[in-house]
C-alpha cells in the first residue's frame, strides 16, 4: 500500500522507552500502552520473585517438564516474558533464564535450547520472532561452541524447540512455504500471513500486485495482511524512489539471513 | 586551557621538557617538508648534469647539503637536550638546557626559512636574469661558511656519482676489465681522485666567477 507519509514518522519515536516494554512488541502490547510507573514497579517486583524462585528451583525446572510448564504458566499469567534479555540481573545481555539454566545445565540438549533461545532473542528485533531452523543452525555454528565439538543439526534444533514449548512464550515450529521456522512469540500466524510469508520465500519479497494477481485477493485483503506483517516486524518495507520522484510499488521483504548485531 | 600558573604538580623540569618536545615536534614537521625539497633538488641536479650544466648541478646539491646539515644539527641538539632534561639533577643543568633551547630555536628558524618554496628551487633550471640572480643569492649564502669542508667533499662525491650514472652502460661495464695489480690500483686511484677533485674545484671556482660577472 503506497502513501507512506514522511510526516508520520514523528520524533516521538525517539522517546526513551522503558527497555522492558520495547523488547517484546506483540506480547507486551498492553504494557506498551501503559507508561505508568506503578505498573513497571509491580512487574519488577514480580520478576525478582520469579527470579529467586527460578534460582531456588532451577533443578526442578530443568528436569521436570510438568514443573516447568507450571512455572511457564506463572510467567504467562503476569505477562512476563522470561526470555526477554533486559529484565533482570544475571549475565549481561542474557536473559535470567539463560543465566539460571545455563549454569546448571550441563546437558547438550539444555545447552542447545539455551542457544536457540539466545539466537531467537538476538534476531527478534529484525524478524519479528520468526527464525528459520536453517538460519538458526548456521548462527549456532558460527557462535560459541556447544561443546564436545559436536555439530548441531536441524533435528537437534527442532527437538530443542519442543522442550521450550511449555514455557508458553510461543516456542513452536511452524512451516512457512517449504521451510521450517522457529516461532518465538505466542502470537499465531493466520493462514493469510503464512501464505504471504511462503510467497516471500521464493522472491525474497512480495508486492500487493503479486498477491492480487497470483492469488486473486482483493486489495483490502492484501492491505490487511501486509500491514499485520509489518506491525509484527515479520516483514520490512522497501520504497523505491524513481528519478522523477515517483514511487514504485512498495515491496515487503523478509529479513531472513541478515546478520545480527551486538547489543550495547 | 592556557593554564600557565604553576600548580604543585608541574615543575620547572616539566616545562623544560615540554619546550624541548615542542621543538622536536617542529623538527619532525620540518623534516617531512624539507625532504620534499631535497628530493626535487636531487632531480634538478641530475637534469642540469644531463644538460652539461655542471655548475648549476653542483649548486643544487650544495643547497640540499645545507638543508640536510641544518636538520642534522637540530637532531644532535635535541638529542643532547633530551639527555639534559631527563637528568635527575635538573637544577644543576637548567642553565645549559635553557641555552640549548635557545640554540635549537635559532636553527629551527633557519630551517623554516628554507621551506620557502619549491618554486624557488625550480628557478635553477631557468636561464633568465631572475634565475641567475637566484643562483648568486644561494652562492653568496653558501659561501659564508655554511658548509664545512667535509660537507663540500661529500657534495662533490655525490656529483661524481651522478656523473657516473649518466655514462652509457657499455662504458661502465668496460671499467672492471682494465688489468691493474692490486697495489697499483690503490695508488693510482688515490692520485686520480685527488686530481679530479682539484680539477672540479677549479672548474667550479671559474664558473662562479663567471656568474658573478
Amino acid at each position: 500500500m503506497s502513501g507512506y507519509s514522511r510526516q508520520g514518522v514523528g520524533l516521538s519515536a525517539f522517546q526513551n522507552r522503558n527497555k522492558l516494554t520495547s523488547s517484546y512488541a506483540s506480547h507486551g502490547a498492553a504494557l506498551q500502552s501503559s507508561q505508568s510507573t506503578s505498573l513497571t514497579t509491580q512487574i519488577s517486583v514480580f520478576q525478582s520473585l520469579l527470579h529467586s524462585f527460578a534460582v531456588q528451583h532451577g533443578e526442578d525446572i530443568k528436569n521436570n517438564p510438568s514443573f516447568r510448564a507450571e512455572f511457564a504458566r506463572m510467567c504467562n499469567a503476569i505477562g512476563v516474558d522470561p526470555l526477554a534479555g533486559s529484565n533482570l540481573t544475571g549475565k549481561k545481555g542474557r536473559s535470567w533464564w539463560n543465566s539460571v539454566m545455563g549454569e546448571k545445565g550441563d546437558d547438550f540438549e539444555v545447552r542447545i535450547s539455551m542457544r536457540v533461545v539466545e539466537e531467537c532473542q538476538a534476531t527478534r528485533g529484525q524478524n519479528g520472532g520468526l527464525l528459520s531452523v536453517k538460519d538458526c543452525k548456521d548462527r549456532l555454528a558460527k557462535g560459541h561452541d556447544i561443546g564436545g565439538g559436536i555439530k548441531v543439526t536441524e533435528e537437534d534444533i527442532i527437538k530443542a524447540v519442543e522442550t521450550l514449548k511449555p514455557l508458553g512464550s510461543g516456542f513452536s515450529i511452524v512451516t512457512i512455504g517449504h521451510k521450517r521456522m522457529i516461532r518465538s512469540v505466542p502470537k499465531e500466524l493466520n493462514p493469510d500471513q503464512s501464505i504471504v510469508l511462503g510467497v516471500i520465500q521464493d522472491l525474497g519479497y512480495v508486492t500487493a500486485s503479486i498477491l492480487e494477481d497470483n492469488l486473486g485477493w482483493e486489495a483490502a485483503r492484501t492491505y490487511t495482511v501486509l500491514e499485520d506483517l509489518l506491525t509484527d516486524s515479520l516483514v520490512w518495507l522497501s520504497e523505491k524512489r524513481l528519478g522523477n520522484g515517483k514511487l514504485e510499488e512498495n515491496e515487503y521483504w523478509s529479513p531472513t539471513g541478515l546478520e545480527g548485531y551486538d547489543d550495547e | 586551557m592556557g593554564n600557565t600558573s604553576s600548580t604543585p604538580k608541574i615543575s620547572a623540569q616539566d616545562r623544560a621538557i615540554l619546550d624541548m618536545k615542542l621543538q622536536r615536534d617542529k623538527l619532525q614537521k620540518y623534516q617531512k617538508r624539507i625532504s620534499i625539497l631535497t628530493d626535487r633538488e636531487t632531480q634538478i641536479a641530475k637534469e642540469c648534469l644531463a644538460r652539461d650544466q655542471k655548475a648549476k648541478a653542483l649548486l643544487a646539491l650544495r643547497r640540499k647539503k645545507y638543508q640536510e646539515s641544518l636538520l642534522a644539527k637540530t637532531d644532535a641538539q635535541l638529542e643532547q637536550l633530551q639527555r639534559l632534561t631527563s637528568d635527575v639533577e635538573f637544577a644543576a643543568v637548567q642553565k645549559d638546557v635553557m641555552y640549548g633551547l635557545q640554540q635549537g630555536t635559532a636553527v629551527l628558524k633557519q630551517i623554516h626559512a628554507e621551506m620557502g618554496g619549491i618554486e624557488k628551487v625550480e628557478r635553477l633550471l631557468e636561464e633568465n636574469a631572475e634565475a641567475r640572480a637566484y643562483q648568486k643569492e644561494i652562492t653568496d649564502m653558501l659561501g659564508g661558511g655554511q658548509l664545512s669542508n667535509q660537507d663540500e667533499d661529500e657534495v662533490e662525491d655525490e656529483l661524481e656519482a651522478m656523473e657516473r650514472e649518466l655514462l652509457a652502460p657499455e662504458q661502465r661495464v668496460l671499467l672492471p676489465n682494465v688489468p691493474v695489480t692490486e697495489v697499483d690500483t690503490t695508488v693510482s686511484s688515490e692520485q686520480l681522485s685527488v686530481r679530479e677533485r682539484a680539477k672540479a674545484r677549479e672548474a667550479r671556482r671559474v664558473e662562479e666567477e663567471l656568474l658573478a660577472a
Binding site: 507512506y4 514522511r6 508520520g8 514518522v9 520524533l11 519515536a13 525517539f14 526513551n16 522507552r17 520495547s22 512488541a25 528485533g125 529484525q126 519479528g128 519479497y205 509489518l230 506491525t231 516486524s233 520490512w236 518495507l237 522497501s238 520504497e239 523505491k240 515491496e251 521483504w253 529479513p255 539471513g257 541478515l258 546478520e259 548485531y261 551486538d262 550495547e264 | 586551557m1 592556557g2 593554564n3 600557565t4 600548580t7 604538580k9 608541574i10 616539566d14 616545562r15 621538557i17 615540554l18 618536545k21 615542542l22 622536536r24 615536534d25 619532525q28
Partner: protein, 195 residues
Amino acid sequence: MSQSAPPADAVVFPKSHSFPPFWTIQRVPATRQTQFKHWSNTIQLYCRTLKIWRMNLSDHLSSPLFHNYKLDRWLELEEAQMILEWMASEEGSKRAEWVNESSSGKAGDLAGRTTAWIYWRRPEEWADVIMDWIDSTGQKGSVVTIHEITQGEATTSQEFHGMDPDILEKTLQILIKRGKAQIFGASGEQGVKFF
C-alpha cells in the same frame, strides 16, 4: 584527515547495507529500532575504517555509505540526520554527538545539524586507550606534547593517531577529571603530564 587514511573502498559493508528495506525508514517502531542499530554499526564501521572522526553528513551523502549505487538506493539528508539523532541519544548509546546546534536552538530540531562526531569509541573509552598506551610505554609521570599524542611518529600505529582535536580535548578533560592528567603551557603549545 590523516596521511594514513585508507581508500574509500576499504570499507566492507555488512549484509544489511544491501538489503533494500534498510534504505527506507521503517514506520514500525520495533523494526525501526533494529534498523537504526544496524545503521549505527555501519556508520561506526565506516568511520573507524576511514579514520573519520567528525562527519559532515552532506559530504557523505554521495559516498558508498549513504548511497548504494548497485542497489540504486540512498538516504536523504533528513533521513541520515534522523539516524544520527538516534545515535546521539541514550537509546543509541551516545555513539554520536552533534557538533553544531540546530538553527532554532530547539531540542529535536534537526534543521541546522549537519556535522557530528562519530564515537566508534566514546571519549571515556578513548581515555582508557590513551592511559593504556601511556602505561605500556612507561610514560607515566613524563611530559608529552598534545601534538605528539595524535600526530607524533611514535603513535602512528595507535588507534588514536590522527584523532580529531576536539575529541582529544574531551578525552583529556575526562582524564583530568579522573585525576590522571594535567595540561599546562601556552595555548597552541600545550603539554600533558600523566599520573
